[in-house]
Amino acid sequence: MFAKYALGAATAISLIAAGSASAETITIATVNNGDMIRMQGLTDDFTAKTGHDVEWVTLEENVLRQRVTTDITTKGGQFDIMTIGMYETPIWGKNGWLVPLDDLPAEYDADDILPAMRGGLSVDGTLYAAPFYGESSMIMYRTDLMEKAGLEMPDAPTWEFVAEAARAMTDKDNGIYGICLRGKAGWGENMAFLTATANAFGARWFDENWQAQFDQPEWKETLEFYVNLMNDAGPPGASNNGFNENLSLFQQGKCGMWIDATVAASFVTNPNDSTVADKVGFALAPDTGKGKRGNWLWAWALGIPAGTQKTDAAKEFIQWATSKEYIELVAAKEGWANVPPGARTSLYEDPNYKDVPFARMTLESILSADPTNPTVDPVPYVGIQFAAIPEFAGIAGQVGQEFAAALAGQQSVDEALAKAQALTTDEMEAAGY
């Protein structure tokens, strides 16, 4: 009896000792998105549970990317955890720059991670970054304006219908624009949207031999459709609008429809920030009847750079931040609509979450995205709104500027495509394809 007690006490003491002896301070680089800011605010919960402290380096997306890429390629070792996306993870994982996350404990339930997310963050079946939240893209639309236009949004619309509705909803005199789409140059901005949309139009970045395809009619159709639609029914200055700008336009009630990341759904339905919170409907991203929808797949994930001295503490943090418990913690404090979406299957089976208006459409969008088979014609790359090769960010950044200039009317669609074709060919040659 006594011995048992003593043993128990000893174990408890040794556990505490182990816990406190290994208390560390980990440095985490993250993006200044709402869900991450919330995570930052909940750090105390993590510290209370594990004894580890956290230093946050919160940066705007472009600066973050530049910062973590420099650090990982030079093995600078400044961060113990980096917030990265579905584009970086497979490339870095393949280079051996990330610590594999294949030994997470059973209670973490790694199999609960949505298969699409898991697939996009793994190399050869090994997980290299755990999804903090995941997203696809979908249509968010104003139910009142749609009604006013005498139309009804189907669950799975075509581009033809969306364009018709956009033109019908537009009322420029009153500052209502039928459709808000990304136009700001950047591989993660307009090119994410256009690449995904081009898939629905049957276009592709490269053929099986890595030849650029911007000289093909499908791209011309995509870009012309987009430019014409935005000219007729888009907001002014659309070529400077990225995710943030469109979000604020929609929240201010200036957009009839907005096709963008599913995570935006919780922002546009939040009455604190959005003037149209109770008038938003959701639908799948449009198609053109060719068998692919223009909805992408993305995850913001937490990865551990190889070479950090604090792998164990970093793993503990990732387990905490991407766990089911974390979701419950946020739900308890901020409500179910504000939990990080799109990462775990169990979230969508939770009865509490079923009442959230955008839950079903978000899940359907994520499930219908297939990064390994993104286009109508076969392609040699993986990824829907990007091609997971190291050169893509650089090339798409430049192509995005040409397309933005076409949207702004500073050059024709043909000119933009010709330049895109030339520079992509050039860069791919330089990279040795």
Partner: protein, 319 residues
């Protein structure tokens, strides 16, 4: 005034390259002092010169080294020597010449605006008025604002076509708001950067104007010379040296502006300067070799501009 006189004289005595010690008895005393001073002078200059030499040579050597390599961090790093491939590729890219042009247009535009407005503002602030100290504070304030912040403020709160203040002004006059960063992208950047640098130009020019002999101006006024003539024949020549300084210093800073573009257009719509192009090559494309070659071109461009400046305005710096 005494300095002006003694310095060139001093310099003249030391001008002959071959050291001819104490050939002039009259100067013997001075010479020995100078000799001692010169040794000390070298020692005193050494830390600054050595440090800057290091700061120049180490990065320059490394840049040159990388520029002859195929160096792709995401594809395994060092992929061997490639000779002048990177140099050829950098220039033959369709973005190269437009970027040189954008650089020159932005630098030139900002220089023109800051110098012209700086002169006018300096003249204005030199006039008698009430509350000059406060006005001066208001005018120099933009110089204290970090480039990132000023770009963010201009982009979001002024140039935004929907919520920007300028859009409200346009609409108040019944006009369609200008989409600044698209329709007038280069001009917008010039505006933002000029706003930041105008105080600097104004300050230097103001100090110069204050040193202007007011009797000369009054005499000219008595003679009935109109203001424009007084400005053209007295004030402007007096300011030439200050203008030179403004142009020289600002050029050095303007050639490397980055934050203003990064925050606003990210190089789209013809605002991709050479610095920004290099940034894209290094950080977006992760092509260190190509970016390094671009860095070497940027140094060459900077030096061409510098030599050009010296030729045109450099003589003002003597005296």
């Amino acid at each position: 005034m005494a300095t002006q006189h003694s310095q060139p004289a001093d310099r003249l005595t030391m001008a002959p390259p071959a050291p001819k010690p104490a050939s002039q008895p009259a100067a013997a005393d001075h010479q020995s002092g100078t000799k001692h001073a010169r040794t000390a002078a070298r020692l005193m200059m050494a830390p600054a010169v050595i440090l800057l030499l290091g700061w120049m040579l180490v990065p320059l050597t490394m840049t040159l080294y990388f520029s002859f390599k195929k160096f792709l961090p995401l594809r395994g790093g060092d992929l061997g020597w490639v000779g002048f491939d990177n140099y050829v590729r950098f220039v033959s890219s369709s973005a190269f010449w437009p970027s040189v042009q954008a650089t020159l247009v932005i630098v030139g535009g900002v220089l023109a605006i800051t110098v012209v407005l700086g002169v006018l503002l300096a003249i204005l602030l030199n006039q008698p008025m009430w509350g000059r100290g406060v006005v001066r504070i208001l005018v120099i304030a933009p110089f204290f604002v970090m480039p990132t912040v000023s770009a963010l403020v201009w982009k979001n709160m002024f140039m935004d076509p929907v919520n920007g203040l300028l859009a409200h002004v346009w609409r108040a006059f019944g006009a369609e708001p200008l989409v600044w960063l698209t329709e007038a992208s280069t001009q917008s950047i010039i505006l933002i950067v000029s706003w930041q640098w105008l105080p600097f130009a104004m300050l230097i020019l103001l100090t110069a104007i204050q040193s202007l002999d007011s009797e000369q101006l009054e005499a000219a006024e008595m003679d009935g010379a109109p203001p424009v003539k007084r400005f053209a024949y007295i004030t402007l020549p007096h300011l030439s040296r200050a203008i030179t300084v403004v142009v020289l210093i600002q050029t050095i800073f303007l050639l490397s502006i980055f934050a203003e573009i990064f925050v606003t257009t990210q190089g789209a719509f013809g605002t991709k300067t050479l610095t920004y192009l290099i940034f894209q090559r290094v950080l977006e494309s992760q092509n260190i070799g190509l970016g390094s070659a671009g860095g070497v071109y940027a140094i060459i461009l900077a030096n061409i501009v510098a030599i050009f400046l010296m030729r045109i305005v450099g003589k003002n710096l003597d005296a």
